[in-house]
Symmetry: C2
């Protein structure tokens, strides 16, 4: 064997050994909890198109913005939005400090376990409950309260921690998009600080990539130490027509992919899919009453009515949860 | 020479050849426009501390958030904030469509070239001028208007395009921090959409990392096409105590480094430097009347008074522009 041969062989061997990933690894199914079929294929085709350099629908990495609703899209939202279940638990925990709540609605009914009467006053009652439990502390204190709750509270049906009520196929989708150069954002009707308190650990989404509803904040000094106090006043509702507004305020450019599950996400999908040539708009349709819940046009939580019509009119992708997802929750 | 020796030599050679960067390259001065001295050293020491794994002040990359004021910190702000010069140019350009402005203040004085009388009404006049020139169009239309202006307008003193009035040492600092795993944000009292229109090209800062003052937006359809209309109403003023609020709303975690030049940045620096063990708070002191402008405690633009006292009390870093910067603007 001549020296030149040894040299060439070593170069070949080292080149292979030092490659970042074998092609077999990159071709592995990145979405194993999605059944094969047109829905999964639509996602894969979209990603292939926008990442193909030189293609007509190529999108530069900086513009690969994907936005995800949270409740009903990344985690479950039945029998009530989890943040509302948190507020109920907080009212109970705080009631000893608020003896006046025994005679004041909506607290009085809630403390008797009568949720229906508590909410009889509609939006006003919800605002009362949210502000009473989401203000009067610093942002850092609030984060601790939510994290303590998430560490101990369990879902009324599954009895699992709420952070285990996330959809395994969506976790795979988030990772798949990020592996393809996308920046993933949450755009939630829920509270921005509530969702941030678990989004990084649960979804791999950092706080600066969470857009949501918010209360007003006030910078002030407490004993010489600066803090941001959460005030009992609504600042912004990131739902419906508010979602494109929240996207513009926080992201400043139009997404190319949007994922939602209710009419509250319709404007976000309209905004996304009115953009450049390459875009993906997707609704998750809750069709699985056995593994999850089945609801759409008539539901009080996560109503999907106009959205289903718009999806049909515009050719958007609709996930049939029962048939498109091999697995709903993680194990 | 034995085969084993050849093998070892080849591995050594290839390892060296395939290293991403030689140590000589990484040790090159990353801040060539900064004169050697305590200010430059304070920056380098801070970066070394927070990036030293295992050190007591090590900060994980995800937490390496650096925030920069814009006017007077990244680009000049004299004789007037550049966005205000933009508004004046827009009033002139739009005056043919607004014959009523001839008899209406603050427009009438401004159109006669009498800026002092135009601003006699103080804040009210400024709000009038800004809303008249920053609303009534979509966010995308506004971006185009600003970019057209930046492409043609020139600074009244230097006669250079405004985007050449950026500070070369700060461009180097932005790049240096990013090379060390920092995520760099602008936190400006200026308009969020105004600054976004050039921040990515000029500073390498994408729109989702720009925090600023904003007007209200409204999602609506124009001939079936969705757009976000800029309304004539102030939504948020990202200045003074508003800066930590803007940081929390958009970033959701406390920065570890903050750079400003005026009392409007004081709360941002207080918030940053009340955080964990590792932090850097820095004011730029405009001391160079020859190469730039010299102003501080008594200036109407970029007043730095309480900030200078706070810097002395807290041991924050103060850049003496005249002595610390080898070069002010790029060539």
């Amino acid at each position: 064997m001549r020296l030149a041969h040894i040299f060439v062989m070593l170069i070949v061997w080292m080149t292979v050994a030092l490659l970042p990933a074998s092609s077999a690894a990159t071709q592995k199914d990145a979405l194993p909890s999605w059944n094969d079929g047109p829905t999964k294929q639509a996602i894969i085709d979209f990603v292939a198109k926008v990442t193909s350099e030189g293609g007509t629908e190529y999108v530069a990495p900086a513009e690969r913005i994907a936005v995800f609703d949270n409740d009903g899209t990344l985690w479950a939202e039945q029998p009530l939005y989890f943040q509302f279940l948190f507020a109920i638990d907080r009212v109970k925990a705080l009631s000893t400090q608020h003896p006046e709540w025994k005679d004041k609605e909506p607290f009085a009914s809630l403390l008797k376990g009568d949720l229906k009467s508590a909410l009889a006053d509609g939006e006003h009652a919800i605002v009362e409950l949210i502000t009473a439990t989401h203000s009067g502390m610093s942002t850092e204190e609030f984060r601790g309260i939510v994290q303590d709750w998430l560490a101990t509270a369990t879902h009324p049906k599954s009895r699992k921690p709420y952070t285990q009520m996330v959809y395994q196929p969506m976790l795979e989708l988030l990772a798949y998009l990020r592996a393809n150069g996308f920046k993933t954002f949450i755009v939630t009707g829920g509270g921005i600080e509530f969702v941030r308190s678990f989004a990084e650990e649960t979804y791999g989404i950092p706080p600066e990539q969470v857009v949501g509803s918010s209360g007003e904040l006030k910078f002030q000094l407490r004993g010489g130490t600066p803090l941001l106090e959460k005030l009992p006043a609504v600042d912004f509702i990131d739902d419906g027509d508010g979602k494109p507004v929240g996207i513009q305020m926080h992201i400043g450019r139009r997404p190319i992919a949007a994922f939602g599950n209710s009419d509250g996400d319709l404007a976000m999908l309209q905004w996304t899919c009115a953009g450049g040539p390459a875009h993906l708009c997707l609704f998750i349709h809750h069709t699985d009453g056995e593994r999850e819940w089945a609801y759409d046009r008539a539901s009080e939580i996560g109503k999907l009515d106009k959205g289903l019509d718009a999806a049909a009119d515009n050719g958007w992708t609709v996930v049939d949860m029962k048939n498109d997802w091999r697995q709903v929750f993680g194990k």
